[in-house]
């Protein structure tokens, strides 16, 4: 296993592309090697892929370069320490690492004093839609959501990114994209609904 990110899974995908099934499996294997035998080359490969992306994520949240660098490193050290807790049947490596990075948001907010809440927007609302009873296996959901994302037009994908990844409120998205708030709400519902519709149809 080599530490330059060019292991048996082929060259790393450039930014803008998501990982394929084989690459995701490989990254889960690497995390397993860290957990079972503290494998440093495996860590180096994950570091090469994820650290620069986590840093970009933190920069988007308003961290400055030094903060983003520091927290990205800290996130990756946490990846090493918590590797044994990773359950590949429950989540992809990317989702798991995002969650660790996401939990660092509080640090970023502390430093930038960015308000984290839009007081006019409620946080917990029942949608009134009954939950489907069928419990879909986690990895099956992963595969299907990713396929659904590939089918979404870019403008809808952008809305999902801003809401689910960057954590902007609907109101903030409306301001950023210069769209009416109602349009943002309905488009996000549409985009998310398409994914669920696809889930139901498969």
């Amino acid at each position: 296993m080599r530490s330059d990110g060019k292991g048996s899974g082929g060259p790393p995908k450039p930014p803008g592309e998501t990982l394929g099934d084989l690459e995701r499996t490989r990254f889960a294997d690497l995390l397993g090697l860290i957990a079972t035998r503290q494998d440093r080359p495996a860590f180096a490969e994950l570091f090469a892929y994820y650290a620069p992306r986590v840093k970009s994520y933190l920069l988007r949240l308003g961290a400055d370069n030094a903060q983003a660098e520091e927290i990205a490193q800290d996130v990756m050290v946490t990846v090493w320490r918590k590797a044994a807790l990773f359950d590949r049947a429950q989540a992809s490596v990317s989702t798991w690492i995002f969650r660790i990075a996401r939990n660092r948001r509080i640090d970023v907010f502390r430093r930038t004093k960015k308000p984290d809440l839009d007081p006019e927007e409620p946080m917990i609302l029942p949608s009134g839609v009954e939950a489907p009873d069928a419990r879909i296996e986690a990895m099956e959901t992963e595969t299907r959501v990713r396929a659904a994302m590939k089918d979404l037009p870019e403008d809808q994908l952008q809305l999902l990114r801003l809401a689910f990844y960057e954590g902007l409120s609907h109101r903030e998205i409306a301001e950023k994209l210069d769209l009416p708030l109602g349009t943002v709400k309905s488009r996000i519902r549409l985009a998310f609904g398409k994914m669920k519709a696809r889930l139901d149809n498969d």
């Binding site: 992306r53 970009s56 429950q90 509080i106 839609v129 990844y165």
Partner: protein, 219 residues
């Protein structure tokens, strides 16, 4: 209490707030703990975020970033790992244990009345009024918490042990919602202490929200 296996009744704004970490930190931690203890996956929202991280642009890390990470890893290995004050909490989700350890190192457990100890979990980063208050309450075996009410709503999640009130018995993963007016008196089961993760809204911020959450999980 009814168990649920899906969180799909939440609307898109709520799911996005939870998946992205934008939710008020105390409420976010409470709901994450609740979902994890009940084996509920937040599903699509988390997957969207994870896939988006893959598509992220790459920002340059400093040339020695990897070496520094390994150095931090080695330092961490040398340092003795702090243990939880109460081993019962070792069964709670790992991210909650991290917060507990930080709080124990910071202020530690305080007196909460005879047989009761409290650990405040500071999630907000500032002490400004209005934010939700999150704490863990340890109720000694067989101890009755005095009858009380709250300024606002209180959501209580049993994270270890067992306690009961006039309504029901609560084991790990069970939770209750009290509005500001309802007087209640939790009692820990005999034989072992009970631990509750409790969030209160001080009557300001979450008006109506926790009730909606109750509907979500108890409907």
């Amino acid at each position: 209490m009814m168990k649920v296996t899906s969180a799909t009744m939440m609307d898109e704004a709520t799911r996005a707030a939870l998946a992205s970490g934008r939710a008020e930190p105390s409420l976010g931690l409470f709901i994450d703990t609740l979902l994890e203890m009940r084996g509920v996956s937040e599903g699509e929202g988390a997957i969207i975020a994870g896939a988006t991280l893959e598509a992220e642009i790459m920002s340059d890390m400093s040339p020695n970033a990897l070496d520094m990470a390994f150095a931090a890893i080695d330092r961490g290995r040398a340092a003795p790992k702090r243990a939880l004050v109460y081993s019962e909490l070792g069964q709670t989700p790992a991210f909650l244990q991290d917060v507990i350890l930080a709080a124990e190192a910071d202020r530690g457990w305080g007196y909460g009345g005879p047989g009761i100890r409290r650990l405040a979990l500071d999630m907000s980063g500032d002490k400004a009024g209005g934010a939700a208050k999150l704490e863990i309450i340890r109720i000694g075996a067989g101890v009755k918490v005095p009858w009380h009410t709250h300024k606002g709503q209180e959501l209580t999640l049993c994270i270890a042990g067992e306690f009961s009130d006039h309504n029901a018995v609560y084991g790990p993963g069970d939770f209750s919602v009290y509005d500001g007016a309802t007087r209640h008196q939790p009692v820990a089961a005999a034989g072992a202490p009970a631990f509750a993760l409790a969030i209160t809204d001080d009557g300001l911020r979450f008006e109506g929200l926790l009730g909606a959450l109750q509907k979500l999980f108890n409907a």
